[in-house]
């Protein structure tokens, strides 16, 4: 069942441009150059209920703008959005009752007081009953392991603790869909893993997640589907497996050499420099040539002490899609 349907979504901004320096600043004081930016440009997609969808893209690609329009915080310039039967910006007050959102770089907690007070505020705002509040708060503080943390002022919490509390704040009212805009930004591995565990757990219980991130591990560990946006346009929309297989016929061969290799290619395959002159990488398209034949001749070109053959890493796949 579809949770989200987006048709030909566009968001255009008008902004101003000026050069650096005092003269440019003075000039712009009297006359500013208007620039129209197509932040999101004719994007369409659907997201099924109960799935995790990762939205990827380089900085400024239009991911966050898309998420903000899906949350009802921004009006689209044109196009249609249907989330759970609502038009998010038009039906905002009713609609946001059924969603949650965590913006990694914008806090919903009140800075000077403990998170528990912010939770109490959300309890009143969302009309959560006392029993439901106690139950949800107990479950979530246990899942995140923040039983004591929620009673300390937000300003003294570590980034990881704060993000866990942001999650609780956004999910106390048991939303059906949760939008996460770079939720693991700046977190250490332990905090990231904990947050990913909770997302997986809640997803198993039926919550739909839409996630923008630059951390490909978030996507690899969580996402069922991936949408890639670049320059405001959708450039990829398919299950995660298909993304991995997009360049799947390519393999990366990492070599540790016994002595430096002076050439720029080995048997017709370009050499990529590694961390030092004794480490090189070769990217081979196994659909075009036999890896067995290539490996059997490799030793005659370069003397090596270690070798590994692996699929192309996700970041290489994504970078390739961004640049194509």
């Amino acid at each position: 069942m579809q949770a989200i349907r987006v048709d030909d979504l566009t968001k255009t901004y008008t902004t101003y441009k000026r050069d650096s320096g005092f003269a440019a600043a003075l000039k712009s004081f009297f006359r500013r150059e208007k620039v129209t930016v197509n932040a999101v440009d004719g994007v369409s997609f659907t997201i099924e209920q109960g799935t995790v969808c990762g939205i990827l893209g380089p900085n400024g690609a239009g991911k966050s703008t898309t998420i903000k329009m899906l949350c009802g915080a921004l009006f689209p310039t044109s196009g249609n959005i249907d989330v759970l039967g609502f038009s998010p910006a038009r039906d905002r007050a009713k609609y946001v009752h059924r969603i949650g959102a965590v913006f990694g770089q914008k806090s919903q907690l009140i800075f000077d007081i403990p998170p528990i007070d912010s939770f109490v505020m959300n309890k009143a705002i969302y009309g959560i009953s006392d029993d439901e509040y106690k139950k949800r708060l107990g479950e979530m503080t246990e899942m995140f392991g923040v039983g004591d943390v929620i009673y300390k002022p937000t300003r003294v919490l570590s980034l990881g603790e704060r993000m866990k509390c942001e999650f609780i704040m956004s999910m106390l009212h048991a939303p059906e869909i949760v939008f996460l805009d770079e939720p693991t930004i700046g977190l250490d591995v332990i905090a990231k893993n904990k947050i990913r565990e909770v997302i997986s757990e809640m997803n198993r219980n039926g919550t739909t997640f839409i996630l923008t991130t630059h951390d490909l591990e978030d996507v690899e560990q969580l996402a069922d589907n991936v949408i890639i946006i670049n320059h405001g346009k959708k450039v990829f929309d398919a299950p995660l497996e298909k993304l991995k297989n997009t360049l799947g016929s390519r393999k990366m061969i990492d070599l540790t050499l016994a002595k430096p290799f002076p050439g720029s290619e080995i048997n017709g395959v370009p050499v990529t420099a590694g961390d030092d002159e004794l480490h090189i990488s070769l990217e081979i398209d196994v659909g075009e040539r036999s890896i067995t034949e290539f490996l059997s001749t490799l030793a005659s070109y370069a003397e090596f002490t270690d070798i590994s053959v692996k699929s192309l890493p996700m970041d290489a796949i994504i970078t390739r899609i961004y640049t194509e």
Partner: protein, 258 residues
């Protein structure tokens, strides 16, 4: 009922927030209270030196000024926080945090930004109003008209806050606009008769700041004139326009790059 519950919860949280820095909270309110008690000193000095506002006794002028102060304090409690928080949200591109709440944004901002620091302002004004009223022979019969005009004056101040906040959606970072409106509102602190006629019309009906202090105090003193009640209309229009403009400008909100 739901909205009252939310408002009261938010006010309670606003107090917890203010009390997080206890010394600042206590000092802030004491300073506001003292400055409110001290501000009429200028009027006292003027009268002590034989000068006066023609036709008005010292206690009558003090009543105008204390009513003005009380109205200012009340409007600051209700809407002044909205003004400054809107400025910040727009500049930082974080207004979506407000829009994520299943409430009218203006109501949510008013509730969560209840200004506890203005309590001292209001309380100072209230004490001086009572003292001035007792010393100036105020008439209890004028209380209904006073309450109506006081509410109208507070509506003007709230309307001004909302109009300024709404402007910030378009002109980002204009944090000095309030200074202009503060200067205009100063007209409400003095007997209207001391100003030239064009200014009197401006202060009574165009930007009705005379309703903030002068009109309600006149009602309490039994010196009100029939046209004063008419000024309630532009006050209501002012507040309605502020609310309408604010809600209208929310649609202009575009955020900043994510």
């Amino acid at each position: 009922m739901r909205y009252i519950k939310i408002y009261l919860t938010c006010v309670r949280i606003a107090f917890s927030q203010a009390a997080a820095y206890r010394t600042d909270f206590i000092l802030g309110n004491v300073i506001t209270l003292l400055s409110n008690i001290l501000f009429p000193l200028v009027t006292v000095v003027i009268y002590a030196n034989g000068a006066e506002f023609p036709g008005w006794t010292m206690w009558e002028v003090l009543l105008i000024q204390s009513v003005f102060s009380m109205s200012n304090g009340l409007s600051a409690m209700l809407t002044n926080g909205v003004l400054w928080v809107t400025f910040d949200h727009i500049r930082e591109g974080s207004f979506e945090i407000v829009l994520l709440k299943p409430l009218p944004p203006l109501f949510y901002l008013m509730a969560i930004n209840f200004s506890t620091g203005s309590l001292g302002h209001f309380a100072g004004g209230l004490v001086l109003t009572i003292v001035s009223a007792l010393n100036s022979g105020a008439d209890a019969c004028g209380i209904p008209a006073f309450l109506l005009l006081f509410a109208a004056g507070t509506a003007v101040m709230c309307g001004l806050d909302l109009i300024m906040a709404a402007i910030s959606f378009k002109w980002v970072g204009n944090s000095r606009i309030p200074e202009i409106f503060d200067s205009i509102s100063e007209f409400g602190k003095y007997p209207l008769g001391i100003f030239p006629k064009p200014l009197r019309i401006l202060a009574a009906f165009v930007i009705p700041v005379a309703v903030v202090g002068f009109f309600p105090a006149s009602a309490l003193l039994g010196r009100s004139e029939s046209y004063m009640l008419l000024a309630v209309i532009p006050c209501a229009v002012f507040l309605a326009f502020g609310i309408w403009l604010y809600n209208r400008m929310i649609k202009r909100y575009e955020g900043v790059g994510g």
